[in-house]
């Protein structure tokens, strides 16, 4: 046993430095002799981050999600190979030349996973933006005008929500024909109703709010009232919902591609890569890496959404 471990505590120079700093802080926090008030200690940079973002999950999720977004943005620059270039040696296991191995056509799996980030994350974000916009507009109109407008829009959302999401999306994508654009369109049709419903209920409670009434008394028309008084108060919670939805959307789009209803070969997309891997079950590297990519994207964006929700609504915060 070393000398230091035997005599731990304040004698060590590190310990005394810490103690001195703590005492300096304490000294600063003594009450002011004139006012008798204790000055508020300046928050450290770390403590300025909202508590919901300081949990280990949120930190890891932020790093992972940020990394994926960077990869999606600069993908081609860091990919070691052209994701479409075919090598004469298919089914190489992970190794020095191709760290994730090669697929049945000898394409570099690592480069394809990186290239797939742009497709999967990019389209997921695009889809979420579109369904948020459509859902918010329809939900606001339904909640604000009420009566038959509300009935029509809400029965339509009921209609869409009555079907299982994935199955309805499959039907629509199949009817439209397999392409990435059609897959996004199909996913849009099934994902806007949840926004419409949530926004509608928020608008219903806002519609009776005093500041909305006083705007109407000042002669606001419906459009102005919605734009100025209602929508700004709906945007925050809706954005939280959208951020929670990015992971799910990426999964839905990849699912459609997996079923052959989205991305067409040879374009690199995680879902279609996994579906190709199913044909060669013994070549584990074909499916594992795009699968892991999808998994980390879904989980990290979900935790990010949770943290965002907690910072908007401190009441639901986990300790």
């Amino acid at each position: 046993m070393s000398e230091k471990a035997k005599n731990p505590g304040p004698i060590s120079p590190v310990g005394s430095a810490v103690k001195a700093r703590a005492e300096a802080k304490k000294a600063k926090a003594t009450p002011d002799p004139v006012t008798g008030l204790t000055p508020v200690r300046k928050k450290s940079l770390w403590h300025r981050i909202p508590p919901s973002w300081r949990t280990p999950f949120a930190i890891v999720a932020t790093i992972v999600a940020a990394a994926w977004i960077v990869i999606a943005l600069i993908g081609p620059a860091i990919a070691p190979h052209n994701p479409l270039a075919q090598d004469m040696t298919p089914f190489q296991g992970p190794g020095a030349g191709h760290i994730f191995g090669t697929d049945e056509l000898g394409r570099d799996v690592f480069s394809r996973v990186i290239a797939g980030a742009r497709v999967s994350i990019g389209l997921a974000i695009l889809l979420v933006c579109m369904s948020t916009t459509v859902g918010t507009i329809l939900g606001t109109v339904a909640g604000f005008f009420g009566k038959w407008v509300d009935e029509v829009i809400m029965r339509f959302t009921d209609l869409v929500m009555a079907f299982p999401t994935v199955i309805l999306a499959m039907v629509i994508a199949a009817a439209l024909g397999p392409s990435l654009f059609n897959a996004v369109l199909a996913a849009l049709v099934v994902s806007w109703p949840q926004y419409a419903r949530t926004v509608r209920s928020m608008v219903l409670s806002l519609r009776g709010a005093d500041f909305v009434s006083s705007g109407r008394l000042l002669g606001y028309g419906p459009i102005r009232s919605m734009r100025r008084d209602v929508l700004p108060n709906v945007v925050g919670p809706t954005l939280v919902l959208s951020s929670l939805d990015i992971g799910t959307s990426a999964l839905l789009l990849s699912g459609l591609s997996f079923l052959g209803l989205g991305a067409k070969p040879p374009s690199p997309e995680w879902g279609s890569m996994i579906s190709e891997a199913v044909k060669h079950f013994d070549k584990w590297w074909l499916g594992i890496f795009p699968g892991l990519a999808l998994l980390t994207v879904v989980i990290s964006f979900n935790f990010l959404g949770d943290a965002l929700r907690d910072s908007f609504d401190p009441g639901t915060e986990r300790e």
Partner: protein
């Protein structure tokens, strides 16, 4: 105290006739049961009564936010159309209201300056409309203030315009809401318990400011409150409501000094006396049912 304008023979700015409001239910709740009164230009009327007596319902009916089950509201001699999803014509933006809850009377997502600016815009829109119609807008001779001037007028700094409502206290917010309503140069301002959520030291100040600013530009004020001791400081006339009906009305000094209706007497008895003895005010006996017929002076 000024004589009620009724004596001068002026046209009332607002007349409510036999208003009945039923809230749906089994059986329906009759919140207001045949209330009539009128309001003259430049007059301050206090509408008092305990909670649940139908005061706030009356405020919503008068402003058109609520359609009465029966009865009519006449604004400048014409029926006031209830507020629908459509834009309210500038003709009727001369009725403004300050709401009870300071936490929701202003939009939390907009700077207060631009919210006061909305009031100014409404005033401009109505002035343009009334010039077109050949009438004269209320406060036409009064110089138009900017939003920050309005904020200074209610005792805030000009920099307040750039802040959001969250950075103001309840009393400050109610003053800002008053400024916005009055910036629209209304002929009638309805204050629906605007001070009930404020602490005692702020109440008189906000009520007094509201009254003073309204009178300066010739706006009539209908001040709704449960607190007779504040109302008597600003009102020319007092209307006492009980269980959906008017039970007593008269000049403030008459009602204050010589209450006729047993309910008014009970209300006056319930005002705490600041004698320092810590004596509790006389509680209005629970379960007492007062006659609902009006006793006039």
């Amino acid at each position: 105290m000024t004589e009620p304008a009724k004596a001068t023979g002026a046209e009332p700015i607002l007349e409510v006739r036999d208003i009945v409001v039923d809230y749906p239910g089994h059986p329906p709740v009759r919140a207001v049961d045949g209330v009539s009164f009128e309001l003259y230009p430049g007059e301050v009327v206090g509408l008092v009564g305990e909670s649940g007596c139908g005061k706030s319902t009356m405020a919503r009916v008068i402003t058109g936010l609520l359609k009465p089950t029966k009865g009519e509201v006449l604004y400048r001699g014409e029926p006031l159309p209830p507020l629908t999803a459509r834009r309210r014509s500038p003709k009727y933006t001369g009725i403004q209201m300050v709401f009870q809850d300071p936490s929701s009377s202003l939009n939390p997502r907009r700077r207060v300056g631009s919210q006061v600016e909305d009031g100014l815009q409404a005033a401009r829109a109505r002035a343009a409309y009334e010039t077109e119609e050949g009438g004269v807008a209320v406060g036409a001779g009064v110089k138009e203030l900017t939003a920050s001037q309005w904020l200074q007028r209610i005792g805030l700094s000009a920099q307040a315009a750039g802040r959001y409502p969250q950075s103001f206290s309840g009393g400050q917010r109610q003053r800002i809401a008053t400024a916005r309503a009055l910036a629209a140069r209304p002929s009638l301002l309805v204050g629906d318990e605007p001070i009930s959520a404020l602490d005692a030291s702020t109440q008189a100040r906000v009520a007094g400011l509201m009254c003073q600013l309204a009178l300066e530009q010739g706006t009539s004020l209908l001040f709704i409150s449960h607190d007779l001791s504040i109302v008597r400081l600003i009102a020319d006339r007092i209307i006492v409501m009980y269980a959906g009906r008017v039970v007593e009305r008269g000049r403030t000094d008459q009602v204050w000094n010589d209450p006729r209706h047993p309910y008014t007497k009970a209300l006056l008895g319930a005002i705490p006396a600041p004698d320092g003895s810590g004596r509790m005010p006389v509680a209005t006996p629970t379960g007492t049912v007062y006659p609902r017929d009006e006793i006039s002076h």
